[in-house]
């Protein structure tokens, strides 16, 4: 999924924020650092934040084994064991925030979204969200199939009750002072195990995985 997400990020930062090079980007929920590494390679100044310390340690160790990324560590690529709210409370500022595959895991999604939006500048700051839609189909594919039947994802990773519908995301964005520039579908081809994006005539309400670009008003 990473190439598609990064491609989406690139497209919208090129169009609305003057490109990616030199931009300060927060990757919230950075996990193993997959997204952070990609953004750093493209020239962003990246802070990867994760609430779990073993994740930031793992991400740092992974970057240290890359001859190019190791030179960026602690400079244009840093991992910090913090939450979005604490970063916002500490007055951290970023040109863009990526909260990809994370909002469905937090307990208070709207507060989380507000924290993300607070950290970007008005009228140019972008917040990227990707998550799953709360539909029966999404639950079937991402929990029943992916976790229980095929074992592609470890059990308990996702709680389908915490999935967020595009409509809800739009409502939250409005209340948090941001406009939704775009919502796009993410599709997995089960045969090639590659991801692609594009609405393909499907309505927003019927999406499974989706990604969105928000801009602070």
């Amino acid at each position: 999924m990473n190439p598609v997400r990064v491609g989406y990020f690139r497209e919208f930062t090129d169009a609305f924020a003057g490109g990616i090079a030199g931009k300060r980007v927060l990757d919230i929920g950075s996990g193993g650092g997959l997204l952070s590494e990609s953004l750093a390679r493209l020239g962003a100044v990246v802070v990867g934040a994760d609430a779990a310390e073993e994740n930031t340690k793992m991400a740092t160790a992974h970057a240290e084994r890359d001859p190019v990324l190791r030179n960026k560590l602690h400079g244009s690529l840093q991992y910090r064991n913090v939450t979005a709210e604490s970063l916002r409370d500490a007055g951290e500022e970023f040109d863009a925030v990526c909260a990809l595959e994370i909002i469905e895991h937090v307990d208070h999604p709207e507060q989380f979204l507000q924290a993300c939006i607070d950290m970007v500048p008005s009228s140019s700051g972008l917040v990227f969200i990707s998550t799953m839609n709360r539909t029966a189909l999404a639950k079937f594919l991402t929990v029943t199939l992916a976790e229980d039947v095929l074992g592609l994802v470890s059990r308990g990773t996702h709680d389908a009750n915490k999935y967020i519908t595009p409509k809800e995301l739009r409502g939250m964005a409005y209340r948090c002072g941001a406009q939704v520039l775009d919502i796009d579908a993410l599709w997995l081809n089960p045969l090639t195990k590659t991801w692609s994006r594009g609405m393909s005539g499907v309505s927003e309400d019927h999406l499974v995985n989706y990604i969105a670009c928000l801009r602070k008003k």
Binding site: P3, L39, P67
Partner: protein, 489 residues
């Protein structure tokens, strides 16, 4: 963490790997946990500078997405040498029939125009016929709205053009290690410093590669040592006898000719108005005999081989009788002249002479690597597949591999991916493996279909070939497939 300026300077002043790394030299922030990298480093290292490796080097060096990536090309040969033939009329016996798709790719690399126009020869027609029956098929480029079916180019010229473009336009973008012998067996870095990067030991220096491309040919070390996959297939029990011949210039030379003999096909491919290249698939003993014949005998033999019944050719090439082939042919020609309907006979231009020293033979084999990729290693060209020359596809498949790998790397770089990541390499393999497999299988099948003189088979294939010749739509589709425009799947 205290800033350690010395470590920064030492690590970065040696080689600014990326623009960003150079930029961060202005920041005095680095930690003591960095161990200095003990070897030189490349994002993409290309081992083998044949046509495939050099073309990949050009493609990557000119890609804007890869501007910050470190590229290296390594070969044991002297890559500064350029090909210069003995005279304007001298033609290398290593030639290739480049499909329009291959030519288009070479144009994109700026390499096509670096080949002298006199050394690029298009042919618009192709005639294929069966010696054991009256089966034949004629192909014409205009039926697929193309200016040519293919273009004949001598491989040394193509090679030189690629190296020239690399040198003239991309010297700042790629490090070329010429006359470099790599210690074998190849291995990966096991120090823990990297994610097991392939390590090339050039003696004076070592290069760790984010991804190592094996363009090192049929005896590929990248395949045997790193990808470690079986290179399965068969030996055809045949050799390809090549020769450069001077032909009768009065008939024009824009047609490729191929006659299927039971021992293997005989092809004449036009190089210029006056010269052509021969590729004759023969059992090794017959090829050895033909290659050793005095010039006048060889010339007579070739002319006969495009016309005579296979049984007579077997006599010429066999060992039972010592014949003066030139005399035999002269006698037979007089006889045939009376009984032959010239309208129904397919004949290429008469061969008048064979270029000195141009006769050579190489064994023909079918091979396909079971896997194209392994951890941070990927195969292209002959390292991945070997094919029967009867459809002129080998080098074209290699260029197809290179075009795909280049496109795959560029797409991956544009989304900040690690180029050596399995997903990136698998995307290349997923696209090329079926295409190559289909072409290898098709050529193998044709070899077997035409490799017998058994009457029933000859009748069926003759019927099939003639019907095929009449089915314009099918013929056009097959033409497009061999020209690289559609997949054979």
């Amino acid at each position: 963490m205290l800033p350690t300026l010395a470590a920064t300077v030492r690590g970065l002043a040696a080689r600014p790997w990326t623009a960003a790394a150079a930029a961060s030299a202005t920041r005095a922030v680095v930690t003591c946990s960095h161990r200095p990298f003990s070897t030189d480093y490349a994002d993409v290292a290309i081992l083998g500078s044949g046509v495939a490796g050099a073309a990949l080097a050009c493609a990557l060096a000119q890609a804007p997405e890869l501007a910050a990536h470190k590229l290296a090309l390594i070969d044991s040969a002297d890559l500064t040498r350029r090909y210069a033939p003995a005279t304007d009329d001298h033609w290398s016996n290593r030639v290739v029939s480049l499909t329009p798709r291959s030519v288009h790719f070479l144009q994109e690399l700026g390499v096509w125009d670096a080949i002298p126009s006199a050394r690029r020869h298009p042919y618009e027609h192709m005639k294929v016929w069966d010696a054991c029956s009256n089966g034949r098929a004629d192909f014409s480029a205009e039926t697929v709205s193309s200016p040519a079916i293919a273009y004949m180019v001598e491989v040394p010229y193509l090679q030189s053009a690629l190296l020239e473009v690399l040198h003239a336009q991309h010297a700042d973008r790629i490090t070329v290690h010429s006359n470099a012998t790599v210690a074998t067996p190849l291995a990966r870095d096991d120090s823990g410093d990297t994610d097991a990067y392939p390590l090339l030991d050039l003696g004076s220096e070592k290069i760790a590669a984010r991804v190592l491309v094996g363009s090192d040919g049929a005896q590929s070390r990248v395949r045997s040592d790193l990808v470690r996959t079986s290179f399965f297939g068969r030996d055809y029990g045949r050799v390809g006898l090549v020769a450069t011949v001077a032909i009768d210039p009065t008939q024009g030379n824009a047609t490729a000719w191929q006659r299927f003999l039971p021992t293997g096909p005989l092809a004449m491919l036009p190089l210029s108005e006056t010269h052509s290249s021969l590729v004759w698939t023969l059992p090794p003993a017959m090829a050895a005999k033909a290659a050793a014949l005095p010039e006048d005998q060889f010339v007579a033999l070739v002319n006969a081989a495009f016309f005579y019944p296979p049984a007579e050719l077997a006599v010429f090439l066999g060992n039972e009788l010592e014949l003066d082939i030139a005399e035999e042919v002269e006698w037979r020609d007089e006889v045939y002249e009376h009984g032959v309907d010239l309208d129904r006979v397919v004949l290429p231009p008469y061969v008048e002479a064979v270029q000195d020293g141009s006769r050579a033979a190489f064994p023909l084999r079918l091979r396909h690597a079971m896997e194209y990729t392994a951890h941070r290693a990927v195969l292209v060209g002959d390292a991945a597949h070997l094919i029967h020359p009867l459809a002129g596809q080998g080098l074209n498949l290699g260029l197809g591999d290179v075009e795909c790998l280049s496109r795959t790397f560029r797409a991956a770089a544009s989304t900040g991916q690690d180029l050596g990541h399995a997903h990136v390499l698998e995307a290349y393999s997923r696209e090329r493996y079926p295409v190559n497999a289909a072409m290898l299988t098709a050529c193998d099948a044709l070899h077997h279909l035409f490799g017998t003189d058994a009457a029933p088979v000859a009748w069926i294939r003759s019927f099939g070939l003639n019907r095929f010749n009449q089915l314009d739509l099918v013929k056009r589709t097959v033409m497009r497939a061999t020209m690289g425009e559609v997949s054979m799947l």
